[in-house]
Amino acid sequence: MTSLYIHIPFCKKKCLYCDFLSFSDTEYINEYFDALIREINAFDCKKVRSIFIGGGTPSYVDCGYIGKVMEALSRYDIDENTEITIEANPGTLTLDKSKAYRSYGINRISIGLQAWQNELLKKLGRIHTREAFIENYENVVKAGFKNTNIDLMFSLPDQTYEMWLETLENVTALCPTHISAYSLIVEENTPFRNMELALPDEETDRKMYHDAISFLNSMGYKQYEISNFAKEGFHSVHNCVYWQRGDYKGFGLGAASLIDNCRMKNTENIHDYIKGKTVIENDILTKADCMAEYMFLGMRMTKGVSISEFYNKFGEDMTVKYKSTFEKFRDFIEIDGDIVRLNEKGIDISNMIFCEFV
């Protein structure tokens, strides 16, 4: 079973915090999709577990391009239960587009709202308003999408705790099946890095996070990963593949893949990509790499990692191998029978713990 990721690196306008690979220039859009479809056609796999069309803003480009991509993918073994997600941003999503996506077989849509307040959206450099989001969301529901995710961010410049609660209340009222809540990271090489930002302090950031967990839980959204929450049965199959180290193939500019314990990455140079030079990095993982990944990816999930599964995969006892780490962070890690997981405090400092595994 293999999951597929398709990268659409175009946006109407790049957000000020974004360090993902995307362009607002659509000059190469035709050549890009030609190259993307060539790449898809050249790849063989048996059964498809999930598909994710991400970006960039896939909903920004004409939906005919998405149709072509879906057509190219149709030669793979996909059934009606296969989770097929497309990412969308408000301001780019019409009713016709939403209906078209449904007609291509796309059954899940992930919409980036980020914040409920228009003044915050402006600060983030988003192109849309709250009103545009509501209208787009209604279109998605009208078009028949039953599985929807809304992306949110907290710890934003000038965001108060109350604004964050307002966001959560209004978003849960729309009853999406899935909510992602990311704490803003000011990345290198983004405009935010060089701006004077009034960011909430760590105390407020953590209060926003922990209170979101309990609020969302009370509304029926159970946390299953550091930043992800879902109604019963609606966790993202595709995301879980990343954390559980299932095979996945990435198509498109800068896309990453994991196949048979080999990590690959496509070129980030659009000219090279259009010319057909795709994979530029090939990293065959050692057993040690695999063990490290198993731990630091698996422990992102609230269900934790399994001692017996670790033993079956690698022939080593994790409680012996990582004894000193488990001991040092005993206030942050729970060992519950076969399961090892982070507690809520552990999630807060998860990098400090994870770096012990690499």
Partner: protein
């Protein structure tokens, strides 16, 4: 004197730092015709990378030049290079002992400086003929006549015939050669007498073993000669003798009285050759060794520990090798609760300490943790015993101490008169005792202060330079010990004393230093998953406290669309940062924290 000896001159060049000693050496080497333009590196004698970067010469080295004099005869000039910094007076002195004369270089704009004087005194101690040379006469600010008068006034050297040169612009170099040949005496000594040679430097070569640099005063030596090192009584058979070509060793058949050259004898143990020792014939030794060198004492001590405990053996080997070329370096094993196994090392001064530290790191690829420097205190106990304390950790319980004495130096500071006020203030702050002031001329003066050595080993030189915009120069000599009200300041991290952070401080400044130290460590030590108190204490009394708050958030929210490699690299980088820290109990302390005490007056 034989005809052979009459064609030899053994000399050093001495100068204040930056007065152009190395540039003149380069010129002499270039004009002696031994080197082509292509071979001529910018500063041939300064061949260590570190020296080049710092623009100073650390280790004495030698080179042999062939020069055709005005009389048409070919002369052999052995040029022995000397370091130019206050810390290295000892090295200067041992090089000078191998010479018969010295060229004194004085900057035509800056005139006599503190180290000009210090070097002249050393040369006079060694009975050397001094040839003054005025350099940098091409500078717009050059005042050669004023500087000549200054040398005559302050030092008492006749400058009427002093060559006026610019080593950089290649002006007047021939005059320097002429003065060397006419003024510096040729060596004397009986080549048929028993061998009597002075070791002024040595060098460890992994193929040839120890290479001994020496000046022959009497006798001769060639391949097969059985030689004895008088201090260690070790006997070796010479394998090779030779002279110093530019940047290389040139083997010769024989070295004779008056020559400067080298000897190898498959000497494997670095301790068998002591710098300052006398080499003689094993079968027919001289009765008395040469007076040797001025005895050198370490002034500053600090602990040096390998960041990785398993590198202890490597650190010991590296120190032994450095010691071969640097008799002033002392070390003995030390154990710290916080830092494990390491060495207590003695140095001439803070610059010497820094240079050794950097050489260990660069040349021997060691990752080190260095503790704050300390001087040697004399501690008198109530039971009448006395101990010499070089490690603050070893200070006995206060109740058993009758008194503590600290080393005092006399410092001479030469400076333009406009900076007198600010520099006096600095000396006052450092517990200095004013001794006097003398005007060298209208705009320049010499300030003399008595200062506790422990007040100048950290950052005195840097502050002096910055407060005088680089114009003040400084030299000091140890004059004795005086009683003082000193206390040991302990630092507690997470409620435990970290022995490597303890330091000795005057009672009156303990409170302030304790507070600054706690503040500094709060900045240096990264936050952990729990809160960490930092306390400064004298005995059981806590005098300052800071708290490092716990990490509240260190989490990567987003997974970058399946690019796990990027995430792994971030975690690896984070882990790499931790590796460079020292684990003390459950606290990870960065190496720089152990030098915090040096930087208390920053900001």
């Amino acid at each position: 004197m034989s005809n052979r000896q009459s064609k030899i001159r053994n000399l050093s060049i001495i100068a204040h730092i930056d007065h152009g000693k190395s540039t003149l050496a380069d010129r002499l080497i270039q004009q002696s015709g031994l080197l082509t333009e292509r071979e001529m590196q910018e500063q041939v004698l300064d061949n260590m990378e570190l020296e080049r970067e710092r623009g100073i010469t650390i280790k004495a080295q030698a080179v042999r030049l062939i020069h055709k004099g005005k009389d048409g005869e070919e002369y052999t000039l052995n040029l022995i290079d000397t370091p130019g910094h206050v810390d290295f007076n000892y090295e200067v002195s041992r090089s000078l002992a191998a010479c018969d004369g010295a060229v004194l270089v004085v900057d035509a704009a800056q005139g006599v400086e503190a180290q000009t004087l210090a070097n002249v005194y050393l040369a006079l101690d060694n009975n050397l003929e001094i040839v003054p040379v005025i350099n940098k006469i091409d500078l717009p600010s050059a005042e050669p006549e004023r500087v000549k008068a200054e040398i005559e006034d302050i030092i008492g050297l006749d400058c009427s015939e002093a060559p006026l040169i610019s080593a950089k612009a290649n002006i007047g170099i021939d005059n320097v050669f002429d003065k060397i040949i006419s003024d510096i005496p040729a060596p004397e000594g009986d080549e048929n007498a028993p061998l009597k040679a002075l070791i002024f430097d040595s060098f460890y070569d992994s193929y040839k073993g120890v290479i001994v640099f020496m000046r022959l005063f009497d006798g001769s030596v060639k391949k097969g000669t059985k030689v004895k090192f008088m201090a260690t009584n070790k006997v070796f058979e010479a394998v090779e003798v030779g002279v110093f070509g530019p940047g290389q060793f040139l083997p010769v058949d024989e070295l004779k009285a008056g020559d400067v050259g080298y000897l190898t004898a498959s000497i494997k143990n670095v301790r068998d050759t002591r710098i300052g020792d006398t080499v003689t014939n094993a079968d027919d030794p001289v009765k008395e060794a040469l007076p040797g060198y001025k005895k050198v004492n370490s002034m500053v001590y600090c602990g040096i520990f390998p960041a990785d405990g398993s590198k202890y053996g490597d650190l010991r080997d590296a120190l032994e090798k450095l010691q071969l070329n640097d008799a002033a370096l002392r070390f003995e094993a030390e154990t710290s609760v916080a830092l494990g196994f390491g060495f207590r090392c003695g140095f001439l001064g803070l610059l010497h300490l820094e240079i050794i530290q950097e050489r260990l790191e660069r040349e021997y690829n060691l990752d080190l943790i260095t503790t704050a420097p300390s001087v040697i205190y004399k501690v008198y106990l109530t039971d009448g015993t006395q101990i010499e304390l070089s490690n603050p950790t070893d200070l006995p319980d206060v109740t058993t101490i009758a008194k503590i004495e600290e080393p005092i130096v006399r410092a001479e500071i030469i400076l333009p008169s406009e900076y007198i006020g600010t520099i006096m203030e600095l000396c006052q702050q450092r517990r200095g005792e004013y001794e006097g002031m003398e005007y060298l001329e209208e705009t320049r003066a010499v300030l003399t202060y008595k200062l506790p050595l422990n007040e100048i080993i950290y950052d005195f030189f840097d502050v002096l330079k910055s407060r005088s915009r680089g114009y003040a120069s400084f030299d000091y000599e140890l004059i004795g010990y005086e009683p003082s009200r000193l206390v040991k300041l302990d630092i507690l991290v997470n409620r435990e004393i970290v022995d490597a952070l303890s330091f000795i401080v005057h009672e009156d400044s303990a409170q302030e230093k304790g507070r600054k130290m706690a503040e500094k460590l709060k900045k240096e030590i990264p936050r952990h998953q729990f809160e960490i108190p930092i306390q400064a204490a004298i005995g059981n009394k806590i005098i300052a406290r800071e708290t490092i708050s716990a990490v509240r958030k260190d989490v990567l929210a987003k997974c970058y669309g399946g690019d796990i490699t990027r995430k792994r690299k971030l975690l690896e980088k984070q882990k790499e940062g931790k590796k460079r820290m020292r684990q003390i109990g459950s606290i990870e302390v960065p190496q720089a924290a152990f030098m915090s005490v040096l930087k208390l007056d920053e900001e």
